[in-house]
């Protein structure tokens, strides 16, 4: 559905002629995010500021055209895909860090600021921004806020919503508003908390005020091997049950360890059923004492070959294996599909064994690399796109895995979002009344449904879920 020329003209007036893209070749660049399914937008607008976002929103509202906010396009659930066409609202020109307040320990940023750039800028003041999705070298704070992104260090520090103090947003009618602010407990409803994680379906975000934290004086990182995934899972529960919440607690299974070790030589024992990376931070007295306690607990749970990084270079190497795991999986198969689900932590051994069985049933190798401390699993289904019919197998296996997650009392997504990938599955976890309550919010804030249609809620025009989770050529993936 091409946009009528008056719409294009109005968009050009809203953001400037040079910042509206309409040529089909150029539009194709914007058809996907980090997932497989893509539909090209009918136009891309690249606003430079809040007023231009509001002007573009008003054009969409006037003509009842879908409009989909978009950051770096690294999302993994199709959140930024213009599945019903319309306008992609690309915010990456809005990439200024407007203020870092070292006294209040806050930052005010535009939505296109890259996650890692904020931490680098804040480091001058010995501060950092805690949420650290693995795509942090590329993903934007605006996208993070829209998706309520997580990351390895969210175990201790909390996810994006715990760090956003307030936002300037543009609602579907083009009105510009501040929600919440610097002071805690403002009178009225917590609109900011509602809008973070709403996946671009309730507003476009134009400024974000975030909390910064002080860089801890000391960090300790430990790698430990375990004979089996069960042992490693038990160790995870024992550490946290023992009163210690590490800043990160990550697990890799044997398949991953083998591929990573061949690639990075990070020193992971390849005979291990699973490897844990445990990190604690704080004052040196604290990290020393906690690490000693953690070593004890891991040893009691059959941990072996434990190695603590003695230098920053060693720490980087231990993390390089974890962060580059997906790329390394290319040694096994050229393509992968990365899933995201959460189970109660005690169900980890059970879900991992189910995931393994499902993989075997579909003859798909599965590699697990995930945030064990949160119970947030990320099975990677490995395949070769050249094999006929393999995508259908991958899709079916993924759906079965998600079923297993839900049957164990889990959630459809821990940090990637529902988007297009899982909207058809929402009735698995929510009743009609539950979904109706969410739809009331949508109808109240975007009565005509122009903001990111076809996401979160089951879409009658697309009754089946589609393979939208991250797929790609494994060898190309440097991060995720």
């Amino acid at each position: 559905m091409a946009l009528a020329s008056p719409v294009i003209d109005e968009l050009r007036r809203a953001v400037g002629r040079d910042h509206v893209i309409t040529s089909p070749d150029d539009l194709r660049i914007f058809e996907r995010d980090g997932s497989i399914e893509g539909v090209a937008p009918d136009a891309v607008v690249l606003p430079a500021n809040t007023q231009e976002v509001a002007a573009a929103m008003k054009v969409a509202a006037r003509h009842n055209v879908p409009i989909v906010p978009r950051g770096a396009g690294t999302g993994l659930s199709g959140g930024a895909v213009t599945i019903h066409g319309g306008i992609a609202l690309q915010v990456t020109r809005m990439r200024r860090i407007l203020e870092i307040d070292p006294i209040a320990e806050t930052a005010l940023v535009e939505p296109g600021v890259v996650n890692q750039e904020l931490s680098i800028a804040a480091a001058t003041h010995h501060l950092f921004y805690a949420p650290d999705p693995s795509s942090q070298k590329a993903c934007t704070i605006g996208g993070n806020a829209a998706e309520n992104s997580g990351g390895p260090h969210c175990l201790y520090y909390g996810v994006t919503t715990n760090h956003v103090l307030g936002m300037e947003v543009v609602f579907a009618d083009g009105s510009v508003r501040w929600v919440t602010g610097d002071a805690p407990d403002r009178a009225g409803l917590d609109l900011c908390g509602l809008l973070v994680g709403s996946e671009g379906t309730l507003c476009a975000i134009t400024k974000i005020k975030v909390r910064l934290l002080r860089i801890p004086p000391s960090i300790a990182t430990l790698m430990a091997a375990f004979p089996t995934i069960e042992d490693a899972s038990q160790a995870v529960s024992a550490v946290i049950g023992g009163g210690i919440v590490p800043s990160a607690l990550e697990m890799m299974d044997n398949v991953t360890v083998g591929a990573v070790e061949a690639h990075y030589r990070a020193g992971y024992p390849t005979d291990a059923g699973a490897v844990l990376l445990v990190e604690v931070d704080g004052v040196p007295e604290s990290t020393r004492e906690l690490m000693a306690a953690i070593r004890d607990i891991l040893a009691r749970n059959h941990g072996y070959a434990m190695r603590e990084a003695a230098t920053q270079a060693e720490r980087d190497l231990l993390w390089a294996g974890r962060k580059g795991a997906i790329g390394a999986l290319g040694r096994i198969k050229p393509n992968y599909y990365l899933h995201d689900g959460v189970v109660p932590r005690s169900r980890l051994p059970q879900i991992l064994s189910s995931v393994g069985e499902i993989g075997q049933h579909y003859k798909l190798p599965v590699a697990n690399v995930f945030h064990a401390g949160d119970g947030n699993l990320h099975p990677n289904l490995l395949f070769d796109l050249r094999d006929k019919g393999v995508l259908e197998q991958v899709e079916a296996a993924g759906e079965e895995m998600l079923r297993a997650v839900v049957e164990m009392g889990g959630a459809l997504s821990g940090e990637h979002g529902i988007g297009l990938e899982k909207n058809a599955f929402m009735p698995w976890i929510y009743s009609e009344a539950d979904l109706d309550a969410m739809k009331r919010v949508k109808a109240a804030l975007d009565p005509r449904g122009i903001l990111n249609p076809g996401k979160i809620f089951p879409d009658p025009s697309r009754p089946r879920a589609h393979l939208a989770g991250r797929t790609g050529f494994a060898a190309e993936a440097q991060w995720w």
Partner: protein, 356 residues
Amino acid sequence: MVAIEVAKPATQEELARTLKEAASAGRAVVPVGGGRASGMGGVVERCDVELQTTRLDRVIEHAPADMVVTVEAGITLEELQAELAKAGQFLPIDPFNSPGHTVGGLLATGWSGPLRLRFGSARDFLIGIRVALPDGSLATAGGRVVKNVSGYDLMKLHHGALGSLGVIVAASFKVFPRALHDMTVESHGGWDAAEAALATAMMPCAVELFSDGRVLARFLGSRDAVNHIVHGLGWTEVDSAVWAEHSRRSFDRWARITVPRSDLRRVVESLGPASEWWASPGAGMAHWRLGDVDAAIDARRLAEACGGSLVLLAAPDDIKRRLGAWGTPPPTLDVMRRLKAAFDPDGVLNPGRFLV
């Protein structure tokens, strides 16, 4: 205000039915938990049915290994903490005017206490919620896992909404392991001492300052680290029972002041040397024994000028009417009203009490 009828439903479904019947007859419903925050907000315009949640007091599930608990809304915080303590766990919230807060009441009012400095308010560890709506439906959001982005975060919407969008009937929380070491120290050094505690290399989990210049700081963590930091501060160690004593504090008429934390000292000092208050300097909050109306107007003006608020927690009706419970409405009031209309179209929930 005296209710015409008091309902004490024994199940979530019964509560939802009672609510629906009242709503469809256009009767005003005032939800009540432990009644510890019953003075908060504006004067209730009508109360046809007082809907008490205290019979909904079950622990639905406590999974110690998952560090998650699901409870009905009428359970008191103390009962919940006792259950969690059996597994060496706790919910990091210590509201003032304790004991007797129900979980539902805490969520509806959004109250917090000193531990907010480290753990945030309940909004930060509330992972699931179930709410009865005026149409009789029971709507759940979130779940029982610690990390979840499945659908809208309606937990945030109901937290602090004072029951104006629905009646909270159950909630799930992420719980925390009891710390390895828990130490409290005291000083009489006023604001400067509080700032010194906040500037230590190990962030304290609570720093409370009183109008007489006394400061309490609490450190949780590893023994060596806590001892090291506390030694560096050079304050006097006190029994941790001071926190239970502190959480019992309230005034017969009082207000909560919240401002960006860098403005708190200035705003609180403006209350005058004779004023009575306690402050959480790291969080940007203070609780103040309400002075006369003019003093409250001045304090509110100052708080609002730096982006904060002054909210009445308890005051006689005539003072509430003169001052207004909430202060200047936020510029998003129209958005809030649309949400209110979506959930409570006839305005039967707590009429007059909340901002919308």
